[in-house]
Symmetry: C2
Subunit: 304 residues, 2 copies
């Protein structure tokens, strides 16, 4: 996948994990990692994403549907428990949480043939945190220029400000070679962003880099509320259908599959390289299993 991204090619499948809670004991964390690996192995994933969870309460004054739980550092979780994972791992870094020297040391220590990183800025422009996104991007260029860098892409921000494609191109100038979206429920917003990005690339004579779209299933209104709290736009018809479905998890699975299928066709039509990321938003077993099933189904739609 690392070569594929370097060549600006898509059609890859990744799965995103949130590391276990911060207070998880070492043995229990190992068990969780082993169970996860066993569950994901049949998917023949091209890579894994490890999220770096930040307390985003400052970004949203509304009550958080699930309490914030600090998680293990994804870099530690990778080093301690996932060192035998067979394909590349994309480690997120919520840069505002770390001091520059801490980040530099981590970046320098990563093997570019095995690890990629997505650097994420502070959740709110009101807070700067310990390192800014621009500084973190510069650190990566200095400390480990071969380490493939990705950025986050937020279609919802494009719906409000109509300039997310320009932000992406600025990130690309700062070294980003792929983008990962947050969970896509609003197909229209995702298409608008990809479209504006594509035509702006064309106007500038710049090659589009792979867009990794994230999908997820949602088995309860509480999970849906949480997604909305996180800033995901969930169209009213999707919310209504889930609310009234006899089996919301199955309905959500079908919706995610339909959205992904359409986005895949749209990107192929435009010629924008894309990857697929599936994440499990909740830690409920049935939701995790449905996510794995979704990844399995989407795998069949990708060409190698």
């Amino acid at each position: 996948m690392i070569e594929r991204i370097a060549a600006g090619r898509g059609e890859f499948l990744v799965f995103a994990l949130t590391p276990p809670r911060h207070d998880t004991g070492r043995d229990r964390a190992r068990e969780i990692a082993e169970a996860t690996v066993a569950r994901l192995q049949p998917l023949a994933l091209d890579g894994l994403i490890l999220y770096d969870i930040d307390d985003e309460t400052e970004r949203n004054p509304a009550e958080r549907p699930f309490p914030f739980m600090p998680t293990l550092d994804p870099a530690d979780y990778l080093a301690d428990h996932l060192s035998t994972w067979p394909t590349p791992v994309i480690v997120y870094r919520a840069v505002s949480k770390y001091a520059p020297e801490e980040l530099r040391a981590w970046l320098a220590a990563q093997a570019p043939d095995r690890v990629m990183t997505v650097l994420v800025g502070a959740p709110s422009s009101a807070t700067t945190g310990r390192t800014s996104l621009a500084d973190a991007q510069a650190l990566r260029r200095e400390a480990n220029p071969a380490l493939a860098l990705g950025g986050v892409a937020i279609p919802e921000r494009h719906s409000r400000r109509e300039d997310e494609h320009l932000r992406l191109l600025a990130k690309q100038e700062a070294g980003c070679r792929f983008f990962v979206t947050q969970v896509v429920y609003d197909l229209n917003a995702a298409k608008n962003l990809v479209s504006d990005y594509h035509y702006e690339c064309r106007a500038r004579g710049v090659a589009a880099v792979p867009f990794v779209f994230t999908f997820s299933v949602c088995g309860s209104m509480k999970t849906l509320d949480f997604l909305r709290w996180l800033g995901v736009d969930v169209p009213r018809w999707i919310k209504n259908d889930l609310e009234h479905a006899a089996d919301p998890l199955e309905a959500s699975y079908e919706q995610a599959l339909a959205t992904a299928t359409e986005l895949i066709a749209y990107c192929r039509g435009l010629g924008v390289p894309f990857g697929i990321n599936v994440e499990s938003v909740s830690i409920r077993r049935v939701e995790i299993e449905a996510s794995v099933r979704l990844a399995q189904q989407l795998r069949t739609q990708l060409t190698r």
Copy 2:
């Protein structure tokens, strides 16, 4: 189609016409009507819609991309030139243009087995005009209660205010037995409205009446600007694709077909009865022909 609507059933196809310009001579109007009938005959339409064009300049202060041209009164055009049309005709009435007595006389004179009407309120809430929508609805109940009544449904208004489904239910209480949308480019907005309408009907124990979705092709950016001026939300990706397409008309045809196909599947899934209306927004020959082709293609998707 009239019986179908009375029974709350959908799956019908109509085509919408704008009458010729007001200054068209009688012979020329007859020629236009004959050419139109010849063009539409192969479609085996369930009905025809005749629009009543109002000067909406007061609704939108931006410059109108095409100048406003008063057109022949659709009721006159029907009586004078389309009396041999074989299926029902839905005549629009922009009620603010008419005095109550004028409207009453027209309503009373219509044959309910051949004509239906859609009453449309003033284009802006700032103007009341000669008759209000509520008064016109009451006139229909008094003068000709058997005459089937429809109303307009505007997904874009739902995107802004989230109460269009409640307006529709109020119109239904005032006698409406079907709704016709303006041209649908924003699939998401249309689904949101249908969904909220459906679940509100269910909560009230009221049967949903047929939703007639309007589709159109657009062969130039000027036509697209005009649609947007009229209040149609055109997603950025659609605008971009048309702007960059080698053949915008063909691209627009494909988009309209895809949108209609998805909306049909969505309504069937929900169990909301629906009809399809195709209109030609411009009077350019290639656009009219593409509209006819669109109607022909959509005909194959409807079950009798």
